[in-house]
């Protein structure tokens, strides 16, 4: 309604109202990823929040890309779906060459960086923080791209709250050549902290693994939590005047 009135008063008849992303609507929370002995492990919960409502609880936020990569995203879910569509086209054309060459994780990461940065320059960003991980010819690759096009590579990356809650744990406990079991345990530790402390986290997560052999994304499962702290018993004791 408002935009219609704006159009009517617009003296430059052919000019359309400017449409660009101003705020995200349905958002995903953190993604955490690490390099381990055989490849990359990436974890994300399956929540899609609508503002402060935890509205959607089966959103897959980690997807395989081509043969060699997986992409995890936090932020606006519709923009993530748009990115997946773009990458699908990219991989399709890559496959159509049918010449033995294929886009590896480094190439996809670079492509995503270009895409995000160009959108940012047009003041119409894709409102996501992306994590791209993969293995090609024995080389492990793990990188991140933000919605303004900042990109970098590292041994462990996280988006959103994960940067504040998970990275410190990873900085202390990550090491080269983690086994699969240790890697999963480490990621679960990070996800548990996020579950306790991030209000937009839901207790339903998937862990994705990519190695030279291929991609596996686990079935959704829940983490065990512990709430039996003494401080939580009789919470209103000593809280004068609380309702």
């Amino acid at each position: 309604m408002d935009s219609n009135q704006a159009k009517q008063h617009n003296l430059l008849g052919s000019e359309a109202a400017s449409e660009r992303t101003l705020y995200p609507y349905v958002t995903g929370s953190s993604v955490v990823a690490i390099k381990y002995k055989d490849g990359i492990l990436m974890a994300a919960d399956m929540g899609g929040s609508y503002g402060s409502t935890l509205r959607y609880k089966s959103v897959e936020r980690v997807k395989p890309i081509g043969k060699h990569s997986i992409l995890g995203a936090s932020g606006e879910i519709s923009d993530f779906q748009e990115i997946l569509r773009s990458l699908d086209e990219l991989i399709l054309y890559d496959n159509m060459w049918d010449d033995g060459n294929s886009l590896g994780p480094k190439e996809v990461h670079s492509y995503l960086t270009r895409m995000m940065y160009n959108r940012r320059n047009k003041f119409n960003p894709l409102w996501n923080s992306l994590i791209l991980g993969g293995v090609k010819n024995g080389q492990k690759y793990l990188g991140m791209v933000s919605m303004i096009g900042v990109n970098f590579e590292d041994n462990h990356v996280a988006t959103g709250f994960g940067n504040h809650l998970a990275r410190p744990i990873l900085r202390d406990e990550w090491h080269e050549n983690l086994s699969f079991e240790d890697g999963v345990k480490l990621l679960e530790k990070c996800m548990r902290v996020l579950l306790y402390r991030d209000r937009s986290a839901v207790n339903k997560l998937q862990i994705a693994k990519i190695t030279e052999e291929g991609v596996t994304i686990s079935q959704p499962y829940a983490l065990k939590t512990f709430w039996g702290f003494a401080a939580f018993e009789n919470p209103t004791v000593g809280a004068e005047g609380s309702w």
Binding site: W97, G100, N101, K106, E107, H109, S110, Y111, N137
Partner: protein, 278 residues
């Protein structure tokens, strides 16, 4: 017989199903001075003969660096070659920028071939009058391709184009089976010998030829005149009889490969007396 009626336009077929303009363009390639390419599993060597118009002028540039991992040698209308080289450089750098990784040479030659094909199917265009020997690296190793004005491309172990290239081709045909495992030095040596073949007895010296190398771990570079002359001298190629294929470590063979050392890899051809004398 009917050539004259059907050769005005590139978009006119002849009754025999030929496009004469395209074939004429391929003739133009044969008129250009020779260019030679050979490859092993890990390296590609491009060489060409540089004939200057007169003693007063410099010679034309026929070998171009397209990217660190791709180089091209041309024969024919060098102006057309320059334009295509610029296109190739542009494609490579755009790919590098978007994907932060080198454009696979196999994809570049397909794009080049498609560009050439367009000019064979538009009445207001003419085919490019230049043949390109594209050498480059890929995920699967070193490759050498030949791009035709017709829009066709072929992959080769070794090839020669331009005037008197048949002499070089004959030499290469005898030896190409060994090239896959050749060392970098042997490959350059074979390239220089093949170049010498096209000179019909004229003395091979670095002022009339250009040599370029690229390989795994070695970005494309055009060897400077001094280095080429040193290589010519080392291999004793100046008007020399053909030497046997087996050459041990270049470091060990100070006198060049003229001496017949033990362990000749080739069975028959190694014992042949005289080189081509066409």
């Amino acid at each position: 017989m009917f050539r004259n009626q059907y050769d005005t336009d590139v978009t006119t077929w002849s009754p025999a199903g030929r496009l004469f303009q395209v074939e004429y363009a391929m003739e133009a390639v044969k008129q250009g001075s020779a260019a030679i390419g050979l490859r092993s599993k890990t390296h590609v060597v491009l060489a060409c003969v540089n004939k200057a118009n007169s003693e007063l002028s410099s010679h034309q540039k026929k070998i171009f660096k397209v990217d660190d991992h791709i180089g091209v040698a041309i024969a024919g209308l060098t102006a057309d070659g320059r334009v295509l080289s610029r296109y190739m450089r542009s494609e490579c750098i755009n790919h590098s920028f978007t994907y932060e990784s080198p454009l696979p040479v196999g994809r570049l030659v397909v794009q080049l071939a498609d560009k050439a094909q367009v000019c064979t199917q538009r009445s207001w265009k003419r085919p490019f009058g230049v043949g390109l020997l594209v050498g480059g690296l890929d995920e699967s190793g070193a490759h050498l391709y030949y791009n035709c004005p017709s829009g066709n491309y072929f992959e080769y172990q070794a090839f020669a184009i331009g005037s008197r290239s048949q002499a070089a081709k004959t030499y290469l045909e005898r030896r190409f089976e060994n090239f896959v495992d050749s060392s970098r030095e042997d490959l350059i040596r074979d390239a220089l010998i093949a170049t010498r073949e096209t000179l019909q007895g004229e003395k091979l010296r670095s002022s009339i030829c250009t040599v370029a190398v690229l390989g795994v771990g070695e970005p494309f570079q055009i060897l400077d005149q001094e280095t080429v002359q040193q290589l010519i001298d080392k291999f004793e190629l100046v008007g020399e009889e053909e030497t046997p294929a087996a050459e041990p470590d270049a470091a060990a063979a100070d006198e060049g490969g003229a001496a017949e050392q033990g362990g000749g890899t080739e069975p028959g051809p190694a014992a042949e007396p005289a080189p081509m004398d066409i």
